[in-house]
């Protein structure tokens, strides 16, 4: 790669890359994101590559190993372009048929196609409901880009927006454009990015920094990871545009070390930028200089908070400080520092490539553009989905997500991670945007969307989030450190059946204190999971306190396992699998669980064949049906 010294040289390179590509050549895009890797997609890719060269198809077919496609439920996932034929749940032994039938003769391999809930086979990506109702503005290019090759990004108008900014716009014009687009922060708070940029730009000081917040801490969200793994240049381009508008010449990327693949792809992408002259001095001959340093986080949820993150970049512990002066004015080393989340940065080039009018035509009055959610939990189509702001929760969960697993009943959806709350069924028509979610006691957060069914205990979920937060609270301020601990203690007591009637009131009182008095957003939002579940599912709390009953059969101390003699056929499967030999019974006779020995590990419930479903969980005053 030779260093590009002008914008015209970048355009010439882009033309050359495109001209070298044969549009008729089949492009087999195989997802190699974290989800598909867990399904051993590497073996599929190896077989595919060797099979294609073995069959002499290399001229006709190109294999692209890409980042996450989003449809993690059915991985490993493959799409064949230009047609967009999609195959799912591919095993290494399926590859031979894909090569012989589809790649050689254009025939479909029926068994790998998507079958929709009505039983209709859908061969094309665009016809599959999971993709059809999405608007994949930020995430869509993941299908076409091999993150190892900057050429793939350049071929899709990569760095066009940067060239337009450096070549024909003043920093003020760039800033105005982002303000006009009303791009709001995708990391949680939804603060307008343009205003943040402006504060940093106008703050006194010669040295300024821009920072990418890739410390994705929400334990149920992985979209930032998937953007960085699959399309790192989109984030880097956004960052450069922001730096130009702000007048920063150094940037940091703060990324969790738990994301090794994202770190690897990011570092490679930065190396490619440097080689092409998109980083360093006098970028594209514009006179603009910029450098990037990657900083790996060592595991601390609170370090995603802006002041904590910046202290962590300085090599110290990542504890927050009171923010009488914002980090946009005094951040890293006391210099004005602009911090935006991965998804926010990835939106920036799109605003310039497609225009402000186009961008603001998507979304609601107050929230423009799209948002990526990780749609997970008890939903049929687990995966990453990108939808226009304002789509209803119902459409996301039922149209895209395909409804609830195993025919169970929807109970609630949790958004916003540990800082968010649960939203009950009667609010499913809520349009998803920053303001609407905050109004009902939850929040957008980074985009975790955890679907819960009738088998999810709301008290247990509140306990879960508080356990996470108690562990992650840095301990600097008393309200957060002690308040969360006390709330957690009460919730643990409720889950153990040791709750007292006054506990619920105390819980609410402590929650209000923690919300009001904590130093940073971690503490201020920590009571949300408790308060929202209390608001919408109070009866469940009361059942735990008054009846010592967990209606969802989750809280271990409140349930016991039984075998229904009317249903048990004595197959012996539970008996053989029980790790503590608590089950007895002779062949073809109903089995019995010894409750003194039972450790409630759930194994018998899992292994009992669905046609019998003889293992039952009971709680409170519930009894087995009479024989």
């Amino acid at each position: 790669m030779t260093r590009l010294t002008s914008i015209s040289a970048l355009e010439a390179l882009r033309k050359e890359i495109i001209s070298r590509r044969d549009p008729a050549r089949l492009k087999v895009s195989v997802c190699s994101g974290t989800g598909c890797r867990a399904y051993d997609c590497d073996k599929v890719i190896d077989r595919l590559k060797s099979g294609i060269s073995h069959h002499g198809l290399s001229e006709k077919v190109e294999v692209v190993t890409t980042g996450c496609h989003g449809f993690c439920e059915l991985g490993p996932v493959m799409a064949i372009y230009p047609e967009g034929t999609s195959y799912f749940k591919i095993k290494p032994e399926d590859v031979e048929d894909i090569i012989n039938d589809t790649l050689s003769q254009g025939k479909l391999v029926e068994r790998l196609l998507y079958v929709d809930p009505e039983g209709q086979v859908q061969a094309k990506e665009r016809d599959i409901p999971f993709y059809k109702y999405q608007n994949r503005v930020v995430f869509g290019n993941n299908h076409y880009i091999d993150p190892e090759h900057i050429e793939d990004y350049l071929a899709l108008d990569g760095y066009c927006a940067l060239a337009a900014c450096l070549g024909g716009m003043t920093p003020e014009e760039v800033l105005e454009t982002v303000k006009k687009a009303n791009l709001r922060g995708r990391g949680g708070g939804g603060f307008p990015a343009g205003r943040k940029w402006e504060t940093t730009r106008n703050a006194p000081g010669d040295v300024k920094y821009v920072i990418v917040n890739a410390d994705e801490g929400d334990p149920g969200a992985y979209m930032d990871r998937s953007i960085l793994e699959g399309n790192p240049h989109s984030v880097l381009e956004g960052m450069l545009i922001g730096a130009y508008a702000i007048g920063a010449h150094k940037g940091f990327i703060y990324i969790r070390q738990e994301y090794p693949l994202a770190v690897e792809n990011l570092n490679r992408a930065i190396g490619q930028m440097r080689a092409l002259g998109l980083l360093g001095e006098n970028i594209l001959g514009s006179g603009f200089d910029f450098e990037i340093a990657v900083h790996r986080g060592a595991g601390a949820f609170v370090s995603g908070e802006s002041s904590a993150l910046m202290s962590s970049i300085e090599g110290k512990v990542g504890e927050p400080r009171p923010k009488y002066i914002r980090t946009s004015i005094s951040g890293v080393h006391g210099c004005p520092s602009d911090l935006n989340n991965v998804e926010t940065w990835a939106n920036v080039p799109i605003i310039f490539n497609k225009g402000v009018d186009w961008f603001t035509s998507i979304g609601t009055e107050g929230s423009k553009g799209t948002k990526i959610f990780s749609l997970v939990g008890k939903v049929n189509n687990t995966g990453l989905v990108e939808v226009p702001m304002g789509m209803t929760l119902h459409d996301i969960i039922f149209k895209i997500g395909g409804g609830i697993r195993d025919g169970k009943k929807f109970k609630a959806v949790q958004t916003g991670g540990p800082s968010g709350g649960v939203i009950p069924e009667d609010m499913l028509d809520l349009p998803v945007d920053f303001d609407a979610l905050t109004l009902v006691g939850s929040m957008m957060g980074s985009g975790g969307m955890i679907v819960m069914d009738e088998d999810t205990c709301m008290v247990d979920v509140a306990r879960y989030f508080l356990e996470f937060l108690a562990d992650e609270s840095c301990g600097k301020c008393v309200p957060c450190r002690e308040g969360i601990t006390q709330m957690l203690h009460i919730l643990k007591m409720l889950c153990a059946g040791k709750g007292k009637p006054e506990d619920i009131d105390v819980l609410q009182e402590v929650a209000a204190m923690v919300k009001e008095c904590s130093l940073c957003a971690l503490g201020q939002s920590a009571p949300n999971p408790v308060l929202s579940s209390l608001k919408y599912f109070r009866a469940e709390y009361e059942a735990h306190v008054n009846d010592k009953c967990c209606p969802a059969h989750v809280c271990k101390e409140l349930i016991s396992y039984h075998i229904d003699p009317a249903k048990c056929k004595g197959c012996g499967k539970c008996l053989r699998n029980c790790p503590v030999n608590a089950i007895s019974g002779s062949k073809k006779e109903p089995h019995v669980i010894d409750l003194d020995k039972c450790t409630k590990c759930d194994t018998c419930f899992m292994v009992c064949p669905p046609k019998f479903s003889a293992v039952t969980k009971l709680s409170g005053s519930e009894t087995l049906p009479a024989v």
Partner: protein, 152 residues
């Protein structure tokens, strides 16, 4: 100088022995030796001109650092929200029982270390257990026993 400290020096020099790079240096040392021994910490403190209490402050604050040796086989159970609602606590109980270890413990023979992690990004498989990079979706007690057996 021992091989160990020579390696530590190499890592520190890679970052120009800058104080600011402390977290990055410790991450690399941890990656190399799977834990941070007192010897390596003392050496790092001396090289960077930092007091030991600063190093202990940093190493005990961040989750990833371990001040005790880690087992040869890393076993993690995902306790992210999606895995939690699909029964991660029951899985953790089973794994704990199978390995005879509590989370964050290492067996006496340094064979296994059990950890919990938050969201691995493979929520469709949840609840998930990972043994040395191999993913398993909700294994039963017997399946866990087989895995324990197979590890050297």
């Amino acid at each position: 100088m021992s091989y160990l400290l020579a390696k530590v020096d190499q890592i520190i020099d890679g970052y120009g022995a800058e104080k600011e790079a402390l977290v990055q240096i410790l991450l690399d040392i941890q990656h190399e030796f799977r834990w941070l021994s007192r010897e390596t910490l003392l050496h790092t403190a001396a090289r960077l001109g930092l007091p030991m209490n600063h190093l202990y402050n940093v190493t005990t604050f961040y989750k990833h650092f371990s001040l005790v040796p880690q087992g040869r086989h890393a076993v993690s159970v995902c306790v992210g929200t999606a895995c939690h609602v699909r029964g991660a606590m029951r899985l953790l109980d089973r794994v704990s029982q199978g390995l005879r270890l509590s989370p964050d413990e290492t067996s006496a023979d340094e064979k296994f270390s059990l950890k919990t992690v938050s969201c691995l990004g493979c929520c469709a498989l949840g609840p998930v257990m990972v043994v040395d990079g191999k993913y398993m979706s909700n294994p039963t007690s017997n399946e866990i026993a087989v895995i324990v057996e197979e590890c050297e």
